[in-house]
Symmetry: C2
């Protein structure tokens, strides 16, 4: 047993808890209404001590937004690289959902609290977001070129529609509800790929 091992309840160093605890608070209360005093209290330290771990409140928000986008882009990029073109979009949907739901506090914060960032940092996060959007759009364009996705709607709008569908699911998906993550991915893939009138069985035969 290493000598420095802390014997606190959670057994996780305070420095490693700052980001997840802050993301959970930002999601629940919003960035502006989350006070550094309350954040410190939840970490079990005084508000003054918090500044040993962070440079400032806005730094915290930037790290949360930026890392959420870095992680999801890497996950989707890796997973789709090896997939055949007919299956790439299914893989996008599944990996995007896994990443967004695993990191749901950070993703919710990134989606909703971006406006609270300073101008330069907001621009940096928007660049990352645009880059991820471009990854998805490229996959859709490839799918169109291969004839597996309709070409009568511009890839741009198919991309935005897909991201609407995926991103905002984290606000109503309940991990303890009747649907598993995989089932949610199957449902959203069915809706996006085949549509509400497509694919499945009808009630009246």
């Amino acid at each position: 047993m290493p000598r420095e091992r802390k014997t606190v309840v959670s057994d996780v160093a305070i420095g490693d808890r700052v980001i997840p605890v802050a993301a959970a608070m930002f999601r629940r209360l919003g960035y502006a209404r989350t006070s550094t005093r309350e954040l410190a209290t939840r970490l079990g330290i005084q508000s003054g001590s918090l500044y040993h771990y962070i440079n400032g409140k806005d730094d915290l928000l930037y790290q949360i937004c930026s890392s959420a986008l870095t992680h999801i882009e890497e996950a989707v990029r890796k997973a789709t690289a090896a997939a055949p073109v007919e299956r790439k979009l299914e893989v996008v949907i599944k990996r995007h959902l896994i990443s967004a739901l695993t990191d749901s506090d950070s993703h919710a914060t990134m989606l909703v609290e971006l406006k609270a960032l300073s101008a330069e940092r907001k621009a940096a996060v928007i660049r990352q977001r645009d880059q991820y959007e471009e990854l998805i759009r490229t996959i859709i364009e490839e799918s169109q070129a291969a004839g597996v996705v309709r070409a009568d709607i511009e890839a741009k709008y198919l991309t935005l529609g897909l991201l609407n569908l995926l991103n905002w699911s984290i606000f109503w998906f309940d991990p303890d509800g009747p649907l598993t993550e995989d089932e949610l991915a199957r449902v959203l893939a069915a809706v996006f790929l085949d549509g509400a009138r497509g694919g499945g069985a009808r009630a009246s035969g």
Copy 2:
């Protein structure tokens, strides 16, 4: 010319400008970061005078959220009542978009700043939101029963998927962009009803 007619630039009474100006600020800055001082300034009055028009800042937020939901529900309910069942969903999509885009500051605020409301008022707005959701779900269930919408996905999830698609479009739709509102409605209807592989022409035949 009525004697009380004001000769201000906008020719609109301050009392009628409070809600729209506040909604625009809440959308841009967030509720918490919007100060009543700045709101008063934009209305051309002092901060103390603002309280002649409002009871409190939270009252303003509640009115914005509540009226956004009241208007959209009434618009969609009226428009769908007369439509034949095969066309009801197209009407939902079009009317929802028209209402949300016409009132986009209020809708964006309702979607994103709900958490800033007091517990009781938040619950009241959530009740309204659930009621609107139920209207949409009922229409989807009727469509399923009529055999015009797939029955292998629960109406609940088709509803949530549709609302994802519609609601969050207001955050990227640009009224001055290449797409008109009607064209956006057509695109989203095509995606939701027929899916990304459905309906249209393919690139390679």
